[in-house]
Symmetry: C2
Subunit: 392 residues, 2 copies
Amino acid sequence: MVSARKATQQSTKQHNRDLVFNTILANELISRAEIARSTQLTRTTVSEVVAGLIGEGLVEEAGFSSSVGGKPSIQLSLVADSRYRIGLNLARDRFTGAVVNLRGDLKDTVEIPVQWNDRGQALQLVFQIVDQLLKKGWKPIVGIGVGAPGLINTREGQVVRAVNLDWQDFPLAHLLQERYQLPVAVMNDSQATAVGEFVYGHHQAGSNLIVITVNNGIGAGLLINGQLFQGDNGYAGEIGHVSIPGNEQVCRCGKRGCLETIASTQAIVQRVQAAAGSTETLSLEQVLRRFNDGDATIRQFVEEAGHALGATIGSLSGALNINTVVLTGDMIHFGQVWLDATRQAFQQSVLSQFGQETQIKPGTLDFRACILGASAHLFLENYSLLYLQPEK
Amino acid sequence: MVSARKATQQSTKQHNRDLVFNTILANELISRAEIARSTQLTRTTVSEVVAGLIGEGLVEEAGFSSSVGGKPSIQLSLVADSRYRIGLNLARDRFTGAVVNLRGDLKDTVEIPVQWNDRGQALQLVFQIVDQLLKKGWKPIVGIGVGAPGLINTREGQVVRAVNLDWQDFPLAHLLQERYQLPVAVMNDSQATAVGEFVYGHHQAGSNLIVITVNNGIGAGLLINGQLFQGDNGYAGEIGHVSIPGNEQVCRCGKRGCLETIASTQAIVQRVQAAAGSTETLSLEQVLRRFNDGDATIRQFVEEAGHALGATIGSLSGALNINTVVLTGDMIHFGQVWLDATRQAFQQSVLSQFGQETQIKPGTLDFRACILGASAHLFLENYSLLYLQPEK
């Protein structure tokens, strides 16, 4: 039996509108004729749709093309500040929220440091950030997107488990919707970061991209055919617990030899502490300082972290044949030493022809990727959110 | 920048037709009202499209529903034998071709054993099979699909490299198109097998599925959101060269420790030969006979093969969060011992919650999967091929 492809619930009109809007979004300036060529829609349809978008204030005419020869054509452009959304990144040590426009510019940011003993107050901190951002008066705000650590059921907007936040089966989207009467998306932070780097990171990766975030934990986000692939339960990209050859460290998950026990920032810090033989608790910042001062032991740990990660990337990008891999997260601070080790192990782990075509490169958006991705996901899935409601 | 989603090149009419046809294909019997519900198309549109499909001979009215209460409704059904296609599986030791109907029944099969020294004649053997199948008089034949080993560029229908067949940058699709004046698809055999199992294997896997073929080589096919995912260059699923911890065997690819050097049928045969210390050349059949007679050494090799494969499946299905994994290929003949070892290693390699939800099960179609998948791929990508051309 052929499984029926997912029936499109969009009317043709809506489909065409999204297609045109997406094409305008993807270009700084574009003419109606170019849109028609790119979308395969008729000139008449494009003109009608564009008129609607201009009416909604989403698009504007922004001058004429200066092409040599031929009639100059009117150039269309997105009105970047015609809609705003709120994005949040609930990182381990600080929650950050921002008001974001349609071009991915952060217009206003609110940040709250989080201590381990704030865990029970996580929801209150989220409310506090959104309250503050809403007070700034950016209008209209069309939705809220949250990137949170742990296992997330994006469809339900539920945090299935986030140890750092002390949340289990926690209906975060529902609670935010109720309080703010706005559409809400909740995603895993690595997945949100992947969407952010894909949409706003200028990686020119075609329609497939792997983005790996290395912090205390390690997670990937997979963009496949231009869309975030979340897997059967929404947990796609959970690569932190892949087994690494020769590694016997016990992981917080209970298994031995997981990638996180050697390649995460936490692993580096713990190994440095253990090597020092002291009971002293070090911060990542302290370890980074010593690393930058030339500490050979730390350099070795960083190289081993890169090797383990590179081999894992080799299996993953090899199996998927995805040629662009973006690395982001705190581990980036270990710079070229870490990148080189990762790339070297990657090259050793894949067939040479795959290795040559694959680029492993740092992200361009740091903590903003998660905020941008979580808030963009909301409307990438449903452009209708951008259309003004009658009562507004 | 948001990358513009792939512009649909289908007209709305064609899109609706494909949607309706696919829905009929996915059901033994279905009424127009049920199609409208499932596709979200209006009753009028569905009736128009169905009339066209009946006119083309692809669909027929097949009686009334016997539902209790309400008006009995007319049930529609695919006319399984209204179109045929030819599928080929170019396996290492034999080429098999078949005429296949729309329900995936093999109507006629031609098989040619292949010797290593036939390599130069591979194309002639393919021609011979297709010639023989065409002579049988099944009409209309709408296309030819080929599953071939090695690296394949599906878009160009080119065999980039197939060592067994002595082909390099070989324009197989073009040569077949020229000779038979029919549309031709050429795919990697593991990818074709995956499509076959997904479409005709009754695995109830939702829209995502991993199918792993273990023969002399090891390859996977990935179904993602209901479609074969081929990656940036068409090589997605090449998992035979993932590194396996503790394995130091040199692989034919030049690296050490690849999955294929421990988990393929060739690896088993070679290990048995080496353990026997003889220069005797064993066939897989001979090894299987000894295994079935209770040979403890072979049993151990089979278990080690399963363990290596299970760990690899753990990384892959874990990273993708795809919960159904189908195993097929000659290795299946090692039965429960191999399956149990694979499942056990899988469970050990993944987070327990993923392990519980994942099913690893044998394929249901053996060599036919490749034939069915290669020939189905052709029209899954373009239903228009099923529409009769004016001149016919």
